[in-house]
């Protein structure tokens, strides 16, 4: 099937950086307005998400179910704010819908709901399910000889779930090489430092031991993100887990590396200060 997506010129890194700041403003505003939601892990994943939706993935907001599109699964489903901000920015639904996040009647549920929100390929929420669902999407493509890629964004704390490692074995067994996953390695989970709550390191070694390609990058560097996807695509026969080292709360000084910003909404004052920082950075 031909790609109907009228491919725009590949955006420059500077363009993407501007885009990332705008997405971050949407994230803090959505969570402030809803008075609930997950800011820290949305801010840490912003560059990965911007790179995927504005450069790497083939997709068409006018045809959300286009069979030839690359799929995306947000396995760390609680970070829906960054996902919704990107989908709105791409034109899957009006930006004003972001004002309804977590409100009754809204299609923007606390966690992504497939079938409700245009552009969402899989419902996620309870941790560990998304990577397995993505394995099903990738297996379906393989059975049909389709060449699209299935992208996944996992949390790091999420990898304490046993199901993640069930999926790891499955993807290796069935050689799901069109499965490219990122770990948003921000090193913080709800109760604190991942290495204190339940140690994950050495994470890339674990994935390699399970038969995946896996290595570390700077998850806030657009060039490294794009290069990592190119490298993952160049390795046939294996799924890839790109460990993207990030800063939780990235872009808002008082939220960076503070575990309590995992799931705390900003007050009006904090919201204003966050926007001021993000606007200032844009200047």
């Amino acid at each position: 099937m031909p790609n109907p997506f009228a491919s725009p010129a590949t955006p420059s890194v500077a363009d993407l950086a501007v885009k990332a700041r705008a997405i971050r403003r949407d994230i803090v505003t959505m969570v402030h307005r809803a008075n609930s939601g997950h800011i820290g892990g949305s801010l840490s994943a912003t560059e990965i998400m911007v790179a995927l939706f504005h450069g790497i993935m083939r997709h068409d907001p006018q045809q959300p179910r286009w069979p030839g599109r690359d799929r995306f699964v947000l396995s760390k489903g609680h970070c829906s704010p960054v996902y919704y901000a990107l989908l709105a920015d791409c034109g899957y639904f009006p930006r004003t819908d972001l004002e309804t996040f977590r409100r009754p009647g809204s299609h923007l549920q606390g966690h992504p709901s497939q079938g409700r929100t245009p552009g969402i390929d899989a419902s996620t929420g309870t941790l560990g399910l998304g990577l397995s669902t993505a394995c099903g999407l990738a297996l379906a493509a393989k059975l049909r000889g389709e060449t699209h890629t299935v992208f996944v964004l996992c949390g790091d704390g999420e990898q304490q779930e046993g199901q993640i490692w069930e999926a790891a074995m499955f993807a290796h067994k069935y050689q799901l090489d069109h499965l490219i996953a990122f770990t948003d390695r921000n090193r913080l989970q709800t109760d604190g430092d991942t290495e204190e709550v339940m140690p994950l390191d050495p994470l890339a070694e674990k994935w390699r031991a399970f038969g995946w390609s896996s290595w570390e990058i700077d998850g806030h560097d657009f060039v490294q993100i794009a290069a990592a996807v190119a490298r993952a695509r160049a390795e046939p026969g294996r799924p890839a887990m790109i460990i993207a080292n990030t800063t939780k709360g990235r872009g808002v000084s008082f939220m960076e590396n503070v575990a309590s910003w995992h799931g705390t909404p900003p007050t009006a004052d904090e919201h204003a200060r966050a926007l001021a920082e993000l606007n200032h950075a844009a200047a």
Binding site: S113, Q114, G115, D121, A122, S123, G125, T126, G128, L129, G130, S132, T133, A134, C135, G136, L137, A138, L139, A140, A141, L143, R144, G162, Q163, E166, A167, M169, F170, Y174
Partner: protein, 318 residues
Amino acid sequence: MPPLKQTRQGYVDALLELAPVLPQLVVLDADVAKATKTCDFEKKYPARFFNCGTAEQNELSVAAGLALEGFIPFATTFAMFATTRAGDQLRNSICYPKANVKVVGSHAGITTGGDGASHQACEDLAITRALPHLTVLVPGDYEEARQATHAAARHVGPVYLRLGRDAYPVVPELHDGFIIGRAKCLRDGNDVTLVSTGIMASEVLAAATLLAADGVSVRVLHYPTLKPLDPEPLLRAAHETRGFVTAEEHSIVGGLGEAVASFLAEHHPAPLRRIGVRDVFGQSGHAAELLDLYGLRARDIVRAARAVLATSVPVAAK
């Protein structure tokens, strides 16, 4: 003695019938393919069979992913694992997004036998009944399981199909077509109504014969679809008979008995007794011994029916 056949064999025979005409159909298992009989499917269609290993959580979520892409996955494992070990995945990967997955739980109930309580799923119907979007099918013998599998494959939406390990009596009264959501009236009568689901159909029919020999007029309803529950036969029986006995190879908590009781309580209160596993864990033993031990026999149903009749008034006097 009627011939004995396995419901799980009916399931796999149906899969083999469906495979040539339903190219989207694929089968997943979790290292129990020899026990669930899906190994027969694997032999014939190896490219459409995926053994997920002992990893039922991944199995159910992978099945959801396949369904989102238009496949019709039959995710097969033991009922115990499908509904408890992988309960989150059943709920959030399959039911919530209405993924067109058929979750097949074999070796349900105490007739799993020797493996003991750890493997005897007696709460799977309580769990699956509580999940929105999920259709719950509980066939009573080989042929009804075969027909239920065909119906599940044609139905768009998530289905839970409950199967057993043992060979169970063939009940010809169950073979007259399978429509999801439709109960079957196996005997007509106006003293007491016996309601069965799954393999209890044969015990209920035996109980009806015993009661009829004593001059009791017995109505027998069979519910191979537990959800959605067919309301009309219950409502009619509530008007036309003096009370109910439900019978299930499942806990009395959350299964057929509670489904019927809550329906009647809201629409036409009537005396009711529940036959089932009485909120206890099972134990190892032969299936027949355990049916005796946990009170799931025709004689237990007869006793319950007499209790209902003793505490109720004839319809004419109502």
